[in-house]
């Protein structure tokens, strides 16, 4: 009879425990208040100074506090007016004149004007500027083409570039170009990042370290007022805990839902939003030495890998199969006629046989995880299996992210035949310019770690960077994509769709292809 007695006893203990917990817990579990949107972020922000940060996680807060001269038009990656209502570009593409919006105030009550614009760029770029020491400004090179910024009058500012640089406008719309209040920087110095002041629809309220950043509706905003009274950004680094908070109602909006957790949010009380962005997940192939020096073998790798399976099974549909080096999110620059390499192991075997590379041993660098890398280990092993199936002998070497970058960025020569990589960019120029040109080989300071070299591609990219006409640029990028697709310096694998889950109390959330999270229109009931 002993076991039965024990069960009853344990049952009693359990009931007592639950009752105790209920007594303590019940009053706490009020839902998040109406008008207040609680967002589950993936990490604590580094700073709320847009010039000092690099992470998408931090940008999600910043774009609601600040505005830039330009801004990506809703649903696109094309730039439109922001704090600048209009702009003119000189014939030669080196002088940009911006006409600023009138009557805009920073949250600290000082006016936004041409002086403020000059202050922002000088602070970042000019090492002698009295507030340059409020940095470092890691992404200042986005504006390294700026030679000078001149105040023409209170609402007109003229920026002169040292050479024509087509991506300049889209860089202005990037969060690094968000405008900060000069007087707030002067007041707080290096602590400006914790006392931010911009012009956006929300103003900073409170930063409780490791708990929350709170921003409130800006009553003096020049545009339409924000749809919520306040937004709370909570850093929840552990993905499982973030999912649990979402399920338990502790947060209203969750970003970067792990693919495997998406099925948890199928019900009525949640909605999932998705948006493909300017992201590319690819394999760098070492075109300098080994089997991938042969174009046929590189193409064979593209045929051998089952990208549909990776996207649908490993990533559970949170990405799309990539066709070439330019993500489709850059609608104006993307070549629609490009089709992904089909999954065709027989064709791969033929090409390998033709190149005489049967049974080649390949060293494959895989990372444990990192910015934009999605699920790199399962993806890496799926790729290994596909390549082994067509007769290669692939050996994986796995590295922690920082170590991985330290191995891959200096080039794969003498170390590996292939490596995983992912990029998120704001302009179609960035990735190919930094990672596909001959002048971007690692020894010249670029990211062309696989040593791809094609003079035609080099010429097209140089021309596209100095062309000021959008159609002309588009034509050049499209031609580049055709060549690169055929040369196959990379295996083009996936374009990530960012996702977010909201509770049924949240309305009007849309995700942008820029991956920025604009919350001014969102309503929380």
């Amino acid at each position: 009879m002993k076991p039965f007695e024990w069960t009853r006893r344990s049952l009693f203990a359990a009931v007592a425990g639950v009752a105790l917990a209920a007594g303590l817990g019940a009053p706490a579990l009020a839902q998040t208040p109406p008008g207040v949107l609680v967002v589950g972020q993936i990490a604590e922000p580094k700073s709320l100074d847009p010039a000092a940060v690099t992470a998408v996680n931090d940008f999600r807060i910043l774009v609601n506090l600040y505005e830039g001269l330009l801004r990506y038009q809703p649903g696109t990656l094309e730039v439109g007016p922001g704090l600048a209502e209009s702009w003119d570009v000189s014939e030669d593409g080196t002088v940009y004149t911006f006409h600023l919006r009138d009557g805009v105030m920073f949250h600290d009550g000082t006016p936004f004007n041409a002086e403020a614009v000059k202050f922002n760029f000088d602070r970042m770029l000019n090492e002698d500027h009295p507030y340059h020491n409020t940095g470092p400004f890691p992404l200042a090179f986005y504006f390294s083409s700026i030679a000078s910024t001149e105040v023409v009058d209170d609402l007109t500012v003229q920026i002169t570039l040292n050479a024509p640089y087509a991506p300049f406008l889209s860089n202005l719309a990037y969060p690094t170009g968000l405008m900060v209040s000069p007087s707030a920087v002067m007041e707080h110095g290096a602590d400006f990042g914790r006392n931010p002041a911009g012009t956006g629809p929300f103003k900073f309220a409170e930063w409780r370290s490791n708990e929350a950043v709170v921003i409130e509706k800006n009553p003096d905003y020049w545009g339409d007022p924000a749809g919520t009274d306040a937004v709370v950004f909570r850093p929840i680094t552990d993905a499982n805990t973030r999912v649990a908070e979402m399920l338990a109602g502790g947060i209203d909006l969750m970003v970067e839902v792990p693919p495997t957790a998406l099925s948890e949010f199928q019900g009525e009380s949640f909605s999932v939003v998705e948006q493909a962005g300017p992201h590319l997940w690819f394999l760098i192939l070492n075109a300098k030495e080994g089997p991938f020096a042969d174009k046929l073998v590189r193409q064979a790798a593209n045929y051998a890998i089952n990208k549909d399976a990776i996207v649908n099974d490993v990533l559970e549909g949170t990405a799309e199969v990539a066709a070439g080096p330019t993500p489709p999110a850059f609608t104006w620059a993307y070549d629609e006629s490009l089709a992904p390499y089909p999954y065709d192991p027989d064709k791969a075997r033929e090409l390998i046989a033709e190149a005489g590379a049967e049974g080649a041993e390949l060293t494959f660098y895989v990372t444990e995880g990192g910015s934009g890398m999605l699920d790199p280990i399962p993806m890496g092993t799926a790729i290994q299996a596909d390549l082994n199936a067509v007769g290669f002998d692939v050996k994986i070497e796995t590295y922690e992210w920082n170590t991985f970058l330290g191995e891959v960025n200096p080039g794969l020569e003498g170390k590996a035949d292939m490596a995983e990589m992912a990029w998120m960019t704001n302009d179609p120029d960035t990735l190919p310019f930094l990672a596909l040109r001959t002048a971007a080989w690692p020894d010249q300071g670029g990211f062309n770690s696989g040593y791809y070299s094609n003079p035609e591609v080099d010429a097209l990219l140089e021309a596209a960077q100095t062309a000021t006409d959008l159609d002309e640029r588009a034509a050049l990028y499209k031609e580049m994509q055709q060549i690169v697709h055929d040369d196959a310096p990379w295996v083009f694998v996936a374009n990530w769709k960012q996702n977010a889950v909201t509770s049924d109390k949240v309305e009007n959330l849309t995700l942008e292809p820029s991956f920025l999270l604009y919350l001014e229109d969102v309503v929380k009931n």
Binding site: N210, A212, D238, E245, G249, T403, G406
Partner: protein, 315 residues
């Protein structure tokens, strides 16, 4: 006693100095540097060099070590790259949270562990002893992060009795009951393994003492059984239980790392993990030195407590 404490404190100095050297060298040797971590995809050699210069990381290693050590002696732990705030402010904020979690957890595991050990020992091979031994075995065997996740799933997601994570409610919180609600799950998850270890050791320590002649004498004199156990036996057993408590205090402190991650507790363990991944060298160094200092301090406290209980240990 004063001299003994002073001696122990002085002997801690070389230990701490050794820790500064080790943590500094490890951080200097691990692959990847802060500039690469900050710049991510944009880490061109040129950008990395400029950022390292801005961060003061272009100086020779030996200079960096002495600058760091010198600043630390004046109370300046430096400024974190990843959080853009003074390292000491961050550590003190975080250490506070860790102390609350580890402290509550430590009290839980000490009281429950000793109690379970005493009950077990006094009813050796009886039903209570067997039941406790069985539960203790399970407690020691279940990894605490797993236990933590299961607790979240049951009490927070399904039953909605307790908050999932964090230290205070975002709205309308901040008082003691709010803190207690947030503490229940992480403190319990953290305490389970240590409770098991303490219970096992308390049981064997008690069993050994209970076999001693003076216990038999006390009982023969007709001393109340409760006094025999609590007054005579437990007091003697404490001499061997206290060092275990000291070790478990360290365990609870270090075990809080993964509990802090699972429950998003804003403590120093989670801070260190984040800092390591971001290569925030200065924050890791400061954090490790601080935690190591606390560890050394607790050890001294345990030794002193032990010498108070058992005069033979003195000198």
């Amino acid at each position: 006693m004063g001299a003994y404490i002073l001696k122990r404190l002085i002997s801690a100095v070389p230990v701490l100095l050794g820790i500064t050297i080790i943590v500094f060298l490890i951080m200097a040797m691990i692959p990847g540097d802060p500039a690469t971590a900050i710049l991510g995809s944009y880490a061109t050699p040129e950008n990395v060099e400029k950022l390292n210069r801005d961060l003061g990381l272009d100086q020779p290693l030996i200079n960096r070590y002495f600058i760091w050590l010198g600043n630390m002696l004046t109370g300046d732990f430096g400024r974190s790259y990843s959080l853009n705030r003074p390292v000491l402010d961050e550590i003190l904020d975080r250490f506070n949270a860790t102390l609350i979690l580890a402290g509550v957890s430590f009290v839980m595991c000490s009281v429950l562990g000793i109690l379970a050990g005493v009950v077990s020992a006094t009813r050796q091979y009886g039903f209570a002893d067997k039941a406790i031994t069985f539960i203790v075995l399970i407690g020691i065997s279940v990894p605490s992060f797993f236990l933590g996740m299961m607790m979240i799933l049951l009490f927070a997601v399904n039953l909605r009795l307790l908050p999932v994570s964090g230290m205070y409610a975002i709205y309308g919180g901040g008082d003691l009951p709010d803190l207690a609600r947030h503490l229940i799950m992480p403190a319990t998850a953290l305490a389970v393994v240590a409770t098991g270890v303490i219970a096992r050791l308390s049981r064997s320590a008690m069993l050994e003492v209970l076999r001693q002649d003076y216990i038999r004498t006390a009982r023969a004199k007709g001393v109340d059984e409760r006094r025999v156990i609590m007054g005579h036996a437990l007091r003697a057993a404490m001499v061997s239980i206290i060092p275990v408590l000291g070790i478990q205090a360290g365990f609870v402190l270090s075990g809080s790392v993964y509990i802090e991650i699972v429950f998003q507790w804003p403590g120093v363990g989670r801070m260190l993990v984040d800092a390591i991944l971001k290569r925030d060298i200065i924050l890791v160094q400061g954090g490790v030195v601080f935690v190591a200092g606390a560890y050394v301090f607790f050890n001294i406290v345990v030794d002193v407590a032990q010498s108070l209980l058992d005069p033979r240990i003195k000198t």
